[in-house]
């Protein structure tokens, strides 16, 4: 079994049909169509302002789309708050700037949503949180505050915090862009491990090594459109569109 098909089932997790979005007059997403199956790992790249972050932020309704359909686990995202809350419980998100809660300890950060959203008993939530903190290799920091950790550690806590909700899908919005170079690897290692365990992942990143190692598909976006969608080897070795070639030459040049 090749890397591309490893652990991928036929069950559709996310479906975008002709999704369009505007910021005022600015047409930021244009006719986006995308299907993600359970266990698939998708890397989204593209120049800044291409709409890639906006697209994955639409998947848990941090941004609202104005036309088209988005289905997550067969639930359509509409203005219905119940649907939105159901989907947010199933979809974990990791941000560029970590967004940990600074007034809570690492452990409290991880337990908060399980306790208040899933109504897990505190003891059980703490046990689960410790399990995930061990997985991201920082159980010894559980009682510190986020401000006392390095960027890489904070981002790993953020990943653990999302995993504590036991999500079906994980969204990563440029998880390594705000990190110092020596900390990128520790975060990517955690993400690779997660991918190998079969988590469905959508990841906006420019870490091309990561894309080659774990992605089933790479999506290139520019000007609010999906320009090219291909398996990673084809994408890097044999890009089809001119814009992809230009982009790749720019980011691989240095």
């Amino acid at each position: 079994m090749s890397t591309e098909t490893m652990g991928v089932s036929d069950e559709v997790k996310i479906e975008l049909k002709d999704v369009n979005k505007w910021y005022g007059e600015f047409h930021v997403l244009k006719d986006i169509n995308l299907t993600v199956k359970k266990g698939e790992r998708i890397v989204i790249c593209g120049p800044s302002g291409s709409g890639k972050s906006t697209m994955i932020r639409c998947l848990n309704r941090l941004e609202e789309h104005q036309a088209g359909q988005i289905l997550v686990s067969n639930t359509e995202l509409t203005n219905d708050l119940k649907n939105i809350e159901t989907i947010r419980r199933e979809v974990g998100m990791v941000f560029q700037h970590f967004n940990l809660f600074p007034h809570l300890t690492v452990l409290e950060n991880c337990c908060l949503a399980p306790i208040w959203v899933r109504k897990t008993p505190r003891k059980e939530a703490e046990a689960t949180a410790m399990k995930y903190l061990e997985r991201v290799k920082i159980p010894d920091q559980a009682f510190k505050y986020p401000g006392q950790l390095s960027g890489g550690q904070q981002q790993r806590v953020a990943i653990a915090r999302s995993l504590c909700m036991n999500p079906e899908v994980m969204l990563f919005d440029e998880p390594t862009s705000a990190l110092d170079p020596e900390m990128i690897k520790e975060v990517l290692d955690v993400m690779i491990e997660l991918a190998q365990e079969g988590m469905t992942m959508l990841c906006v990143t420019h870490e091309m090594g990561f894309a080659k190692t774990v992605a089933n598909r790479v999506i290139f976006m520019d000007g609010g459109q999906i320009i090219e969608e291909n398996d990673p080897h084809e994408f890097f070795d044999n890009p089809q569109s001119e814009r992809t070639k230009l982009f790749l030459s720019q980011i691989l040049a240095h």
Binding site: R61, R88, V91, N99, L112, A113, M165
Partner: protein, 367 residues
């Protein structure tokens, strides 16, 4: 190329930069201009403070019954000590002072327990202080139940009345302020415009006119049957007025919380009230402690304005005592006493807020 493998020893700093001399140098005599200012300020302090201390302590009289006991020419604190009961209890019947005293004792015990760090079960005590204690305090002060005789509010006065006004105002204006601030930032247009209008109206009116309206105009609009106590009307006026101020302070705190915090809370599936209550407000309120306490202190001092609608708070009752022919001419002592009492309470609040800020500081930037 420089290679230096020898570790240099740590030397003590030069003596002129540390210790008393170092402190004097950096803080008082760092340049000729600063030295000049130090000398001038020192001179002014000496010529003003020495007579003040002399008046207030050295040549003052503390013990006695009448003004004839004030013989040493300094401050006549006898005036205060003779009238102290009235300044504290107002016109409350003397045989019922124990009720006010009981309330004070319970209140002091609760607040001390809340301030001391190692108290167990703090949330429980806090809930008791905020919910049960006001009920106990009401029945102790007003009576009308458990066989306690009713004492009408027009007999309340002095420090007790000041504290009742301030505590009710503080405890009620904070939650109202939070709700108004959230409402003003709401995405629902009706809620937002109502809250904005409320805040702007109350904030744009002087407290004196609010109190006048509460005491004079409100009864004209309300039918004669429904009688509302004057103190209650003043309390409502003060609470509304201060919650408008509070709302704006808290809104400032809400705006300082980065958008990422809202997004992270939403992405975890927390609904609006949970993300506000668990994530946003704890951070915003902590950030706004100086502003909130500033408003509390202003409120505490503003309570003395109730004297214009005929309520005898501490200031008003001291002023009334000053017009007593037996004690004419001791207004300085009276006003110094009032100022000192107000200062003690306000300074206490200020110190507590600083302690709270230190305690809640978790060593992070807001992200």
């Amino acid at each position: 190329m420089i290679i230096n493998d020898d570790k240099l020893p740590d030397l003590p700093p030069p003596p002129s930069t540390v210790g008393v001399i170092g402190w004097l140098r950096t803080n008082l005599f760092s340049s000729w201009l600063n030295s000049l200012l130090t000398v001038i300020v020192g001179y002014l302090l000496v010529i003003n403070l020495v007579p003040l201390i002399d008046w207030a302590f050295l040549t003052s009289d503390w013990i006695g019954e009448t003004r004839e006991d004030c013989t040493s020419g300094g401050a006549c604190w006898v005036f205060i000590s003779v009238r102290l009961d009235q300044f504290i209890y107002g016109f409350y019947p003397e045989e019922l002072y124990w009720r006010i005293n009981t309330m004070y004792v319970i209140g002091v015990i609760l607040i001390t327990a809340l301030i001391i760090e190692s108290t167990p079960k703090k949330p429980l005590i806090a809930a008791f202080t905020l919910i049960i204690f006001p009920i106990i305090a009401f029945y102790l002060l007003y009576g009308g139940a458990f066989g306690l005789e009713v004492v009408e509010t027009h007999k309340w006065g002095g420090l007790t009345l000041t504290l009742v006004l301030a505590c009710v105002g503080i405890v009620a204006s904070l939650p109202f302020g939070v709700l108004l601030a959230l409402g003003r930032r709401s995405e629902m247009p009706i809620v937002r415009s109502l809250c904005t209008a409320f805040i702007e109206v109350w904030r744009g009116v002087p407290l004196i006119s609010v109190l006048f309206m509460a005491s004079v105009m409100l009864p004209l609009f309300v039918s004669g049957e429904t009688h509302m106590d004057k103190l209650v009307r003043a309390l409502i006026g003060i609470t509304m007025f201060q919650s408008a101020y509070m709302a704006e302070v808290i809104r400032g705190g809400l705006q300082a919380i980065p958008k990422g915090q809202y997004e992270a809370a939403m992405a975890l599936g927390l609904n609006y009230w949970k993300s506000m209550g668990l994530i946003i407000l704890p951070q915003a309120l902590k950030l706004m402690i100086p502003g909130i306490v500033n408003t509390f202190i202003a409120l505490f001092k503003d309570t003395s304005l109730v004297l214009i609608i005929g309520l005898f708070d501490l200031l008003a009752i001291v002023q009334a005592a000053l017009s007593d022919p037996k004690w004419l001419g001791y207004s300085v002592e009276g006003y110094v006493f009032v100022a000192f009492v107000f200062w003690v309470f306000c300074f206490g609040m200020s110190r507590y807020s600083q302690g709270l800020e230190k305690k809640l500081h978790t060593g992070h930037g807001a992200r």
